[in-house]
């Protein structure tokens, strides 16, 4: 009854899920203007239908290797946090699945620290584990000081 929709994404071969309620749209991130001095996970800013959207690289945020530049063009999921528009850039947006949060398994203890804070839990699906991401923490957590690129 209390099933929720999750948008499933693929990043670096792993399957991730985002609460569908926070996802506004899915788009191809194009014409990105890089932002000098920004944290490394910020790819840049772009214009999406008159809005300025900040593109955040999911791979960088999850401390994965950068994408193979010859791979298929990345996609982005549009999110709105605190009045700002963000695009989370992922390898692929797959589908929407209905899952019951009751089945959400807390993240295992041995999860790398960088993941633990942004992962509320995982679902066990027939095709493998679906790692649920906390969109707000994923985007804003761990950033906020720009020193890294300066």
């Amino acid at each position: 009854m209390s099933a929720r929709d999750y948008v499933t994404l693929r990043v670096g071969g792993h399957l991730f899920g985002l609460d569908a309620l926070v996802v506004h749209d899915v788009f191809y991130p194009r014409n990105i203007t890089p932002v000098p001095l920004a944290p490394p996970e910020i790819i840049g800013v772009l214009n999406l239908r008159g809005r300025i959207v900040t593109a955040v690289c999911a791979r960088a945020r999850l401390a994965m290797k950068p994408r193979d530049p010859t791979a298929r063009p990345a996609k982005a999921v549009g999110l709105e946090l605190g009045g700002d528009h963000y695009g989370l850039v992922v390898d692929e947006v797959e589908s929407v699945v209905k899952l019951d949060p009751i089945d959400l398994i807390p993240p295992p203890d041995n999860l790398p620290v960088r993941w633990a804070e942004i992962i509320p839990g995982v679902f066990r699906l027939p095709e493998g584990l679906l790692v649920v991401l906390d969109a707000s923490k994923l985007i804003t957590g761990g950033t906020g000081h720009y020193g890294a690129a300066a």
């Binding site: 203007t33 920004a38 900040t54 700002d84 950033t143 906020g144």
Partner: protein, 764 residues
């Protein structure tokens, strides 16, 4: 209840602002019934609302104030400054309680007895006998009907039929406990206020322009509208650009229509953000009145052009600077009454504030007829505070000196008063105004006063910007902060120089520190830098190297997402006509980012300047001589009368004393060092020093050189005859003390006069 209180707070604050202004006006012109009526009405409404909301403290104060005002109104009490002060302090207390109410949701604790007693004393003072009589019955009965809270206070009866009229008006007020405070009488939608007019009948055509019918709209709604319209404008720009590339006329007519409608819509929405500048001036009459009392200077404040409109965001930003400027004028600018009389001026100082539109900007002018700026004192003060060097200050024009009052940390007040002179003065004003892209100028005539002119853009939402390129990317730079654009190339006249590893641009004989925008952004420069933007932020003037200047464009400033807001170099982003996003450079951030650079560069410049100016003045010609095997010796060339090569044979010696015939007189010859020997043969080099009455010759081994050098004595003398050791051309050189030798020579002369001649040997 919370909503009611919130509404009440908004209304009450607005009402109180009006009361402040009107009271001061009323004090100046007690015959102004319209002002008094307005004040009375507002206080009365406030009291009514307080009673309804059960705010006992507020009600009691408002009541006491109203009673006093009532006395003014029915002519039973003469208007006096003290009485007005009492009412103003009541208003202040009400404001304080309202602030508490806003914070706590209920009235803060406190005791107002003293205040109320003071107000009552004024009311009583005028008509003590009546007061008791007035405590009579009829009125409270009438009050009972409409305003039950008033039965609690039997002291207010003097209001007679006026009161009755108001009470009639109170019905609707209770229905909507937030009475339309600022729209009284004629303009008011509340017809119930009509009865007021009968009271103020002679002044019926309300003299203040209260504006047309208005509705209250939340500021956030207006902000949203502004955002949406900005987006619409950008979308329109994109469409127009797309259509231009199509070579097909189908869409052109509707697009043109869309374009013009969008433009009009933008104008309308901009208008909703516009507010008369009088909003920012509201507190000034009260401020000036208080200052006048505090400083013991009668001051007249004249305001002109209150209706001039500007963006409310800009309005907020200039409120404080304006207040500060007025304070400054009152405190520093205007003289005391005696000084004014002595100068043949009217006793009351004048502060004249005016505003008008000029181009896309609003000009605010503050003029006072005070003493004007004291150039000499500012110069001294600036030198004392280390803002400018003395040499520099001496060469500055009067206008340049006046501008020094905008320098950080400058304050001329001899005595730090309660009002101003805390050293956070005009520099803060200037930086506030420059932050919103404004300019501030100052003109002063000694003895006649000072005019400060502030020019600010009408709006901050749309900004003129230069689109430039650095590190291969485009960026927008607000045009207001760019003073000048300088094209540079290999063969251009503008030279780059490097001092202490700081790059400089020499522009019209001024050295301006340079930063490379690409480098500041942590990127590589992709192309040769072709332009330098000369920017000014506060007192810093610096050049920014960019690769290319592409265009100028009116841009709509959009904030960056929170994760990017910590980057100080950018103030926002904008969409260009082609739909791409460019980042807006924040000149302040850039100057901060290049933070230590301008200071470092300034130091280098200063040092360079010292060398050329001050140093040149101190440069002394020194004669370098060799005596014995020790360090070289130096004497100031100017003190040497002549260099003489005396044949050894002409030197006469008596024991350890020696003399030579010099122009027909016997001149003592002194040695410089102990055990110094004269030349064996040939000629002996002598430095001839001519004193007032006598001459002497100093024997040296060799004359080495004449150099121009700084007289900078490093070590003090260790023995007589040597002033110290100076580094001259990189060599330690002993500077001879000629005065010491002159004294020795004098002794020789004395000996010569007595012993010498008698001896008959020196006088050959």
């Amino acid at each position: 209840m919370d909503d009611l209180i919130a509404d009440f707070l908004v209304e009450a604050h607005e009402g109180l602002e009006v009361i402040d202004v009107e009271l001061v006006r009323f004090e100046a012109r007690p015959e102004d019934r319209a002002a008094l009526d307005k004040i009375f009405r507002l206080v009365h409404t406030l009291k009514g609302a307080c009673g309804f909301l059960g705010l006992g403290r507020l009600e009691a104060i408002a009541h006491a104030g109203e009673t006093l005002l009532g006395r003014f109104r029915d002519g039973r009490l003469q208007v006096s400054s003290q009485a007005v002060t009492a009412v103003l302090s009541a208003i202040d207390r009400i404001k304080m309680i309202l602030d508490g109410l806003g914070d706590l949701g209920r009235e803060p604790e406190g005791d107002d007895t003293a205040l109320i007693r003071a107000l009552e004393a004024f009311s009583d003072g005028a008509a003590p006998s009546e007061q008791s009589a007035v405590a009579a019955e009829p009125e409270p009965l009438a009050a009972d009907v409409a305003a039950p809270e008033r039965t609690l206070r039997p002291g207010e009866v003097s209001l007679e039929e006026l009161e009755a009229a108001f009470l009639a008006a109170e019905g609707p007020v209770f229905g909507a406990p937030a009475p339309p405070v600022e729209t009284p009488a004629a303009a008011s939608p509340a017809a119930a206020f009509e009865p007021d007019q009968t009271d103020s009948a002679p002044e019926a055509p309300v003299s203040e322009s209260l504006g047309p019918q208005t509705i209250r709209v939340g500021v956030d709604v207006l902000e949203d509208m502004m955002t949406l319209v900005s987006e619409l404008v950008l979308t329109r720009n994109q469409l127009l650009q797309l259509n231009r590339g199509r070579g097909d006329e189908t869409f052109t007519p509707p697009l043109q229509r869309l374009s013009s409608i969008t433009g009009e819509l933008q104008d309308s929405v901009m208008k909703t953000r516009m507010q008369p500048i009088g909003q920012a001036w509201k507190k000034l009459p009260r401020l000036v009145r208080d200052l006048s009392g505090e400083l013991g200077k009668p001051i007249e404040l004249v305001m002109e052009g209150e209706a001039t409109e500007l963006d409310r965001q800009v309005l907020e930003q200039i409120r404080d600077p304006l207040t500060h400027m007025v304070r400054n004028s009152a405190d520093h600018g205007l003289e005391g009454p005696e000084a004014r009389r002595a100068a043949g001026k009217p006793e009351a100082g004048l502060i004249h504030l005016s505003a008008y539109h000029e181009g896309g900007a609003i000009v605010i002018r503050l003029r006072d007829d005070g003493r004007g700026l004291d150039t000499a004192r500012i110069r001294e003060k600036a030198i004392e505070k280390g803002i400018v060097g003395r040499a520099e200050a001496e060469t500055m024009t009067e206008a340049q000196v006046h501008r020094l009052i905008f320098a950080p940390g400058f304050s001329t007040a001899v005595v730090v008063t309660n009002v101003s002179g805390r050293g956070v003065g005009m520099d803060v004003v200037r930086s506030n105004i420059e932050q919103i892209g404004g300019q501030i100028e100052l003109q002063s005539t000694l003895g006649q006063g000072c005019v400060v002119t502030v020019k600010i853009p009408l709006t901050l939402a749309i900004v003129s910007a230069l689109i430039i390129r650095a590190a291969g990317e485009r960026f927008a730079v607000p045009q207001a902060s760019v003073q000048e654009l300088v094209k540079v190339s290999a063969d251009s006249d503008h030279r780059f120089e490097e001092i202490e590893h700081v790059r400089m641009l020499r522009l019209r004989e001024q050295l301006i520190p340079l930063i490379d925008l690409s480098e500041e952004l942590g990127r590589e420069r992709r192309h040769e830098a072709k332009f330098v933007l000369i920017m000014r932020v506060g007192a810093h003037r610096f050049g920014v190297l960019v690769e290319e200047v592409i265009d100028t464009e009116e841009i709509v400033v959009k904030p960056l997402a929170s994760v990017l807001r910590t980057i100080p170099v950018f103030s926002g982003a904008t969409l260009l006509g082609d739909g791409s996003v460019v980042l807006i450079i924040d000149p302040n951030g850039l100057s901060d980012r290049a933070g230590d650079m301008p200071a470092r560069a300034q130091k280098a410049i200063d040092e360079a300047a010292v060398w050329t100016e001050a140093e040149a003045a101190e440069l002394v010609s020194l004669l370098i001589v060799r005596v014995g095997a020790g360090a070289l010796k130096a004497v100031e060339l100017s003190r040497i009368t002549r260099l003489e090569q005396a044949p050894v044979t002409t030197i006469q010696r008596i024991g350890d004393r020696a003399a030579v015939d010099y122009r027909g007189k016997l001149m003592p010859v002194l040695t410089i060092e102990d055990g110094q020997r004269f030349m064996e043969s040939g000629s002996q080099p002598l430095l001839v020093v001519q004193g007032m009455l006598y001459a002497m010759g100093l024997a040296v081994d060799q004359i080495v050189d004449v150099v121009g050098a700084k007289l900078d004595i490093e070590l003090t003398a260790s023995r007589p005859g040597v002033r110290g050791v100076a580094l001259i051309n990189g060599r330690a050189t002993e500077l001879l003390d000629l005065d010491h030798f002159m004294l020795l020579a004098l002794a020789e002369h004395a000996k010569g006069a007595t012993g010498g001649d008698a001896d008959g040997r020196i006088a050959a």
